[in-house]
Structure formats: C-alpha cells, structure tokens
C-alpha cells in the first residue's frame, strides 16, 4: 500500500510537479502570445464574455423596450440613421446593439452549460467503455451509433417541439445528446493508456479499479476532452441559435441572436441590418472559439483530428 500511495502522491502534489507546472504554464503563456490567431480568438471571446457579464452597463438602451415611432431605423452611418441607435432598430423599434449585447448571455449560458453536461457524461462513458470493455463497451458504442444516426438538429427540434421551447429544455436536450464525440475519443485514448506499463504496475500493487481509472487514467486522457469541449462550445452556440432561428429557442421577448436573425429574415428586402448583425455576432463568437480551440489542440494534443 505504501508504494501505491507514493505513486498517487507522485501524480498529485509533489513539489517537483508543482515546479514543472509553473514552467509549463509559462511556456503555454508564451506560446499563446506567439500565436496571433489564438490571441485574436481570446480577444473576441473577452469581448463576448464581457458583454454578457456587464450587459446592463454596456447596453445603451433597454433591449426589450419597443418604440414604434422609431422602427426599422438604419445604422448610424446611414444618412437616415441616428446616434441613439448605433446599429439601428428592429421592426418594433428596439435597439439592435443593446439586443446583441444581451443576446450574448443566452448563447454563452447555453454553450457553457451544455458542454459541461455533455462533457461530463461523455468523458465518464468513454472512461468506462474503454477501461472495462466487453459488453459495457458494446452497449455504449451501439448507443453512440444510434445517436449519430439522427441528424442532430432534426432530433433536437423534434424533442424541443414536444417538450416545449424554454431555456431549461434546450440545455437538457443539447446537453444530453452531445456526449458521443467525447465518449468515442476518450474511449480510444483509454484503450491505449490502459495497456501502459505503469497501469499494470499499479494493478500488480493491488490498486482499485475506480482509483486507477480516475487518478491515473483520467489525467492522461483528459487533454483531448478539453480540446473537444472547447470546440463543442462553438457547435452548441450554433445549434442554440439554429433552434431560436426556427422559433424553437428561448421565447421572446428575451433577445437571442438566432431569434433576432429570424425576425430580420422577414425584413430582408428593406432592412438588411436586422439579419446581418446578429449573424455576424454568432460567426465572430464561433470563430473566436475555433481559433482558441485550434491552438489548444496544437498545444495539448497535436495528433488529434477533430
């Protein structure tokens, strides 16, 4: 048992490891500042997160206050635009910039919480399927196949339509259905780590399965999990806005980017700004996450192909 504890310790909190971590962190920070793409991604995300957190202070107007006299006002650079509404107003006279700022909240909440749920489920399933193998593995991998058989968006709109569109239901549906990609990759990683000598050694010393799984295997397979999670935030944000775009997202008057796009679509012939800006917001956010995610992948796990 002493030997086991020593191994656990070596994996955990030895001062040498701490020192290495510090050096590692500095190395990572340096590589981040070297990569222009990752910095750009970080910058975009900083703005999005800041606007979600500080929406009441940043938004120039009330995002749901209607003003019928000022409906469909173009952005400020148009001769007909006004300085009160920098990006113009929508069909109900609501300020588009303010709605964009508030809309970032729903996107981020959904993106982060769904990834937390699906990542936890997926990584756990991947660990179990990879480590225990045999029939457990078979069951989980067939479940994954079944899940993948449905076009994701089709399954989510059908289920959300049945359950009723609300923030909670969207998070549940996207969170529960997103596990497959984690499970598959983590499983494959576990399969190779499981065979390594140090795991065999811990086995021989009488280590418990669960302890081996979480203390020794998990830390060795977590990097692809982190990479996937980052990129999945982007995908979830797009899915949420697709649901909102189809009218199955968080219901009005709460501003969402997808919902704004849907409103704007009907005014495409005379008010281009309604649909253009929310789409740009989605694209830039997703781009920021993808840039950062690509960098994290190159840093943590360059072999990974996602």
């Amino acid at each position: 048992m002493e030997a086991l504890e020593a191994i656990d310790k070596a994996h955990g909190e030895s001062s040498l490891a701490q020192l290495e971590k510090g050096l590692e962190f500095r190395k990572i920070a340096r590589s981040l500042f070297k990569s222009k793409a990752a910095l750009a991604g970080l910058f975009i995300l900083f703005i999005v997160i800041a606007s979600a957190l500080l929406a009441p202070y940043l938004a120039p107007q009330d995002p749901i206050a209607q003003d019928i006299n000022n409906r469909l006002k173009p952005p400020v650079w148009d001769p007909k635009g006004s300085r009160e509404h920098l990006l113009g107003t929508d069909h109900l006279g609501r300020d588009i910039l303010s709605r964009l700022i508030y809309g970032s909240r729903i996107s981020l909440i959904v993106g982060l919480s769904t990834v937390l749920i699906s990542g936890t489920i997926g990584i756990l399933i991947g660990l179990i399927a990879g480590y225990y193998g045999s029939w457990l593995d078979d069951i989980f991998m067939r479940l994954a196949d079944i899940q993948l058989a449905f076009p994701f968006i089709l399954l989510s709109i059908a289920v959300v339509a049945v359950l009723g569109p609300s923030l909670r239901n969207i998070i549940i549906v996207l969170g529960i259905t997103g596990w497959v990609v984690y499970a598959r990759v983590i499983r494959a990683e576990v399969l190779s780590v499981r065979e390594l000598e140090f795991i065999e050694a811990i086995h021989a010393l009488g280590g418990q399965n669960l302890r081996i799984l979480f203390r020794h295997i998990l830390p060795n397979v977590i990097s692809p999990g982190i990479v996937i999670a980052t990129l999945e935030v982007a995908r979830m944000i797009i899915l949420e806005s697709a649901l909102s775009f189809l009218g199955l997202g968080v219901q009005p008057p709460t501003p969402t980017w997808g919902g704004m796009l849907n409103d704007g679509r009907q005014y495409i012939y005379n008010a281009w700004w309604l649909a253009t800006f929310p789409g740009l917001a989605i694209m830039l956010t997703v781009l920021g996450i993808n840039l950062l995610g690509d960098w994290i992948r190159d840093t943590l796990d360059p072999r990974l192909e996602i």
């Binding site: 067939r142 479940l143 196949d145 079944i146 993948l148 058989a149 449905f150 076009p151 994701f152 968006i153 089709l154 399954l155 709109i157 059908a158 289920v159 339509a161 049945v162 359950l163 982007a234 797009i238 806005s241 697709a242 775009f245 189809l246 009218g247 199955l248 997808g258 796009l261 704007g264 679509r265 495409i268 012939y269 281009w272 649909a275 253009t276 929310p278 789409g279 989605i282 694209m283 830039l284 997703v286 781009l287 993808n290 840039l291 192909e305």
Partner: protein, 305 residues
Amino acid sequence: MKKHLIRRFFQTFLVLLGVSIVTFAILHLTGDPTALLLPQEATAEDRARFRHEMGFDDPLIVQYGRFLKGALRGDFGLSFRHNQPALQLVWDRMPATVQLTLAAMLISVSIAVPIGILSAVKRNSLLDHVGMVIALLGQSMPVFWLGIMLILVFGVKLRLLPAFGMGGIDHLILPALTLGMFTMARTARLTRSEMLEILGQEYIRTARAKGVPPWSVILRHALKNAAIPIVTVIGLEMGTLLGGAIITETIFAWPGVGRLTVQAIYNRDFPVVQAAVFTLACIFVLINFVVDILYTYLDPRVRYE
C-alpha cells in the same frame, strides 16, 4: 472480410432497431401524447375518446410493437394536415432533398479539394493563407445566416439569382452553396493537412529524386494516398448535409423533406415528423454502412485489424 461484413450487418440492424425506438419515444416524451396532438380547447371526453382510438391507453410496449409493425410496412399513419399517408409525403419530397444534397456535395468537393491541394503544395504562400482563412470563416458561419446573406446579396441587391423555390439550375446555386459551405471548409482543411503529411514522407522524396515530374508526384503519388481519409470524411459529411438541408430548405423555401419536417413540427403533424425522422436516420445509417464497406475494400489494412 466475410466475418467483418456479417458483424457490420448485425450492428447496422441493431442501430436501426434503436432508431425505431427513439423515433417512437419522441412522441411519448411527455408521457401522454394526447396533450400534444389535440388542441387545448378539447374537452376531457374528447381526450379520453381520442386516447382510446389512438391506442394511447395501451401499455407502452404494445404501442411500440404496433409502431414497429407499421414502420416495417412503411405505415406511419395518416398526416393530420394533408390526410395522406405520412411516408408517402416524405418520399414525394425526397428527390428535391437528394438533388440539393448532391449539388451541395458536388460544389463543395470540387472547390475544396483543389484548394486543399494547392494550399499544401504552396504552403505558407498568400494563397495558402487566404484559402485557410476563408475555410476557417466557412466553418464558423451558421448555415442559416450564410443563406440569408446570399439571398440579400445575390437575390435582393444584385438580382442575379432567384432566392426562393425550385426551378431551373439557377434556383439550385444559392441553396447548394449555403448547404455545402461547412463541408467545403472542412474538406479543404482536411485535404491540406493530409497532403502536408504525405508530402513529407520518404517515398515522396524518393519519387522526386527519381525525377518524376512535380505534378505527377502530387497527384499520382500523394493525392492517391491522401484520398482514403478524405473520401471517408466526405461520406460521413452526407449526414451533416442531410441535417443542414433541414435549415437550408426552410430558408430557401426548397420543397424537400427538411422543409416538410419543420412545417410538420410547427403543425404538430407527428405522423409526418416520425416518418421523416425515421427515414432520414435510416438513410444515414445505410450510407454509413456502405461507406464502411467501401472503406474496407479500398484500404486492405482495415480488414486485418
């Protein structure tokens, strides 16, 4: 090889069974489908009668058995709205969806593969940078926004292309481009990275040293080996495209299965929703099966694993 085939066949069968369970379960998620199917003002008597008529008071397993039996015969019930067999409606719309999906595939592959190859060969050139930035943007763009922007630019401002509905080949351009963008971006990036990896291999150096002309090395020696992963991903992208078609068709009023499904969801026309979900999932599973078999055939290494 034969053993692998049989195993894959059995797996596919299991997955299709699972697909049928999920399709059945969608309607029963809230416990009582009556509330979903009847308007709110229906009386308790109406509800009870309807529940009994539809067999919703039977045990779930009996209901599932009935659903599966129907599904195997292609019977998902009548569409509430169109009063026609639901599956018939889906199949009537299928050619439009297939046409759109194939056009999207064609456009994306014929643009993405050359860009990927050129970017890899001329690594770090201006062309490489521009190509990859566009690919990154294409991967970050939501389908529905791209569609609306294309309508705005080519349909509303320039009046070059029709923005809605089905017609000649010009009607196909905007929706196919919209649908294909993500696949295009992904394929371009993948082609580039696969080509880069293979161009660094020793046998490529040998071929060059032997004096094989540069383009012959790239196309005959490198591309041929890069083709397997590219083809696999393209095959798997069919699923993404089928999913994307749901939104693309809605934006462009394209009369395919996707638009039918979204409308059926709005109208609570669940027989049509179930028929469409089941059909699309089965098509995807079968495509995967075929891709997998082709893959085994193309790359003998897979067989011996």
